[in-house]
């Protein structure tokens, strides 16, 4: 079945968990035992309505504080397809989780509290979704019931975000605005009678209509090698297969290919998926490829079509979202993981930090936790990369702290 992955973002108290709970409830995705648990808990808190946020806020600390502090994944399905929601926290200090959730999503819902309008957080959410080049953005203007379903409040928010979109670097986004009340259910799944001035789709109607594309989108084919398969079996005595996932485009038997970094050339001989051979495999397939020639290939190498060679360089420029408490400084060293390829990197220069409210860049010495900035890096071995703009899959990397081993930042190659 088709799966659509959606990231949700909002500020504290925007009612994000309530919105998701409402979607689950109205699509009848909450099972009886979960519903009972919600009823029980809502009663014990003395609410006279159902507190749907309890359906998603999973960790004890979250339930105690009534906020969401980590990415939770929520599943529901309609007749049409399955959905995975990456519910990401809204507060500024948890931006790294927002990037995490958004990086695997095809669409994003940004929640705005109709009473508060566009705030700094909203701009930040929009900025991150734009940086990650998420195609479909839904701005859900929530708590419309608390502003008497006032059309002018909705229009103000709409025009403010449209202004931000003009200042954004990626112009290809489809932005849709929907007035909702997650608590009461207006325009979430059911069309509201309280918004006669709104003729558009409900939130779910809109989600159902979004075209399902893979997160990485169509680009030139890239095949990074995860491992070399050498079975110690008589019937596969000379078998040498290269296991990996195809990104960007199809690969077919007979394609003329170049292996990086050695730059040797060959042709694709066979494409295996389990015990079957195929002529063509689409992007996203985890296959095993054999080549016509005996070449030296190992993990971290990349097979590409010979007329579609990526950049091969030891220097790169990237926009980095920093996710570690220890700031990123010039001349520091990190492990750089580019897909399945690991190298060592030295930070050449930190050029600037970019304001997430679209007000521009300022020069800086370091990137602090949750900062987004422009950085120049040098790696110890040539990397075979594309810009994130041209090839999402082959244009991103993570930086790993060599002392703590934690994932300290994510880079988008420029």
């Amino acid at each position: 079945m088709e799966v659509l992955k959606i990231a949700t973002a909002g500020s504290v108290d925007d009612g994000k968990s309530t919105l998701i709970g409402r979607i689950l409830y109205d699509t009848k995705s909450l099972t009886d035992d979960k519903l009972e648990a919600i009823e029980r808990s809502s009663r014990s808190k003395g609410y006279d309505y159902l507190d749907f946020s309890l359906a998603t806020d999973g960790l004890v600390a979250e339930r105690e504080q009534g906020i969401t502090i980590d990415v939770a994944h929520i599943y529901f399905s309609t007749e049409n397809r399955s959905y995975i929601i990456a519910d990401t926290p809204g507060h500024v200090e948890y931006t790294r989780n927002m990037v995490t959730g958004a990086s695997t999503s095809q669409a994003a819902i940004i929640l705005v509290d109709a009473r508060n309008g566009v705030i700094e957080q909203t701009k930040r959410h929009f900025f991150i979704n734009n940086l990650l080049r998420i195609k479909d953005i839904i701005v859900a203007v929530n708590k419309m019931d608390l502003v008497d379903f006032d059309e002018s409040k909705f229009n103000t928010i709409k025009s403010e975000i449209e202004q931000l979109a003009e200042a954004a670097s990626y112009k290809g986004q489809n932005i849709t605005f929907i007035p909702v009340s997650a608590l009461k259910g207006d325009n979430v799944v059911e069309k509201s009678e309280n918004t006669p001035w709104y003729s558009g789709e409900t939130l779910l109607e809109h989600l159902e209509a979004i075209e399902n594309k893979d997160v990485f989108e169509k680009a030139q084919a890239r095949f990074p090698i995860q491992s070399v398969i050498r079975p110690k079996k008589d019937e596969f005595h000379d078998f040498r297969g290269y296991a990996g996932k195809i990104y960007g485009s199809v690969l077919s038997v007979g394609d003329e290919v170049t292996i990086l970094p050695s730059e040797t050339t060959s042709k694709i001989k066979e494409i295996y998926f389990f015990d079957e051979k195929y002529e063509t495999a689409k992007r996203g397939s985890s296959v095993t490829i054999t080549l016509e020639d005996d070449v030296n290939v190992s993990r971290g190498d990349m097979i590409v079509k010979s007329n579609e060679i990526p950049n091969v360089n030891k220097q790169l420029e990237a926009t980095i979202c920093w996710m570690d408490n220890k700031p990123l400084k010039a001349l520091s060293k990190y492990h750089l993981q580019h897909g399945v390829n690991n190298v060592v990197t030295k930070i050449d220069a930190i050029e600037s930090v970019i304001a997430t409210d679209f007000s521009g860049e300022t020069e800086t010495e370091e990137l602090k936790l949750n900062d987004i900035g422009k950085v120049k890096l040098k790696v110890n071995k040539p990397l075979f990369f594309d810009s994130y703009e041209k090839n999402k899959a082959n244009g991103n990397f993570i930086l790993i702290d060599s002392q703590t081993n934690t994932t300290a930042g994510v880079g988008f190659i420029r």
Partner: protein, 300 residues
């Protein structure tokens, strides 16, 4: 040769993850319970490395209170695929006095598995344990990463998880740490059943409707097995047509009344179900935060 390979996104993702485990770790192991999720993992691992065999062993933490059908199934599968199976018994830790068995009405050995698992990790030096947990099962599991780092005590620090961006998996760990890996994180119960049907994967018979002596307690159907499951005198044994939706220890897995005799029936039943899978897990009902607490202590 077939023309075009059609995509199953969830399957491709799982194969990719399993291959990363084999490449990034020195001593991975697949935790095998004999349940449908771990059986699915075995099939995915076969696909990941074909024509080579699966390059890591299976580990079964045996509570001693398993359904005999599951154990028979396990042994047959391992034999057919030529896999290495390691079994470690909860009973050994009970006998040596390392852990104390619960007694009374809700006694279960489910919690005791944690200690045996951690012992086995230490005994063999496993640095990655592949498990069949899914994010849709339970609220705390919804927050798990694909690669979830555990400290020397097997503990999960849920507030300090590594960010996981795109499909890049960071498997770097310190000595003594290990990683729990969840390749089918993004699958739902229905996805697993649909896959089992499509692939024609064999599963233990207790997943299908069968006649079984049972008794009712707290609105759940318990297996009547006096040796493993405590029963009050006024809890009367009845014969019912039931099946199991989830297979754990006999003392903590409730049955459901069902007429699903084939895999197709099961898929249909799950599609129409109004009760969640873990609704039949007695161990989850202990408190709202039951799973999170167990996970912090090293439970799967």
């Amino acid at each position: 040769m077939k023309t075009i390979l059609e995509n199953n996104e969830l399957e491709n993702e799982a194969i990719y993850i399993i291959r990363e485990v084999a490449a990034q770790f020195e001593k991975p192991v697949l935790l095998f319970s004999g349940g449908k999720d771990s059986i699915t993992l075995v099939r995915l691992a076969q696909k990941a490395f074909y024509p080579a065999t699966i390059p890591f062993p299976l580990l079964h933490v045996d509570t001693g209170h398993n359904f005999p059908e599951t154990i028979e199934f396990r042994d047959r599968l391992v034999e057919e695929l030529g896999l290495e199976l390691i079994v470690r018994n909860v009973q050994d830790n009970i006998d040596s006095g390392k852990v104390k068995e619960e007694s009374g009405k809700y006694a279960s050995r489910n919690m005791l598995q944690t200690e045996t698992l951690l012992d086995a990790i230490e005994e063999f030096g496993f640095d990655a344990c592949i498990g069949g947990a899914r994010r849709d099962e339970e609220k705390a599991r919804a927050k798990e990463r694909i690669f979830s780092v555990r400290d020397d005590f097997g503990q999960w620090d849920e507030k300090n998880q590594r960010p996981e961006v795109f499909d890049t998996l960071n498997g770097k760990i310190d000595l003594g740490q290990n990683v729990r890996v969840f390749p089918i994180s993004n699958w739902t119960e229905l996805d697993v059943w649909s896959y089992i049907e499509k692939e024609g994967i064999e599963i233990p018979s207790i997943y299908f409707a069968h006649k079984r002596p049972v008794f009712e307690r707290d609105g759940l159907i318990w297996s009547a097995h006096d040796e493993y499951v405590y029963r009050e005198e006024d809890e009367i044994v009845l014969e019912k047509i039931v099946r199991f939706r989830t297979v754990g220890d006999m003392s903590c897995t409730a049955a459901v009344e069902s007429n699903a005799f084939t895999i197709r029936d099961v898929v249909q039943e799950i599609r129409n179900s109004r009760i969640s899978e873990r609704g039949a897990r007695i161990d989850d009902k202990r408190s709202e935060a039951a799973m999170e607490k167990r996970k912090q202590q090293g439970y799967f």
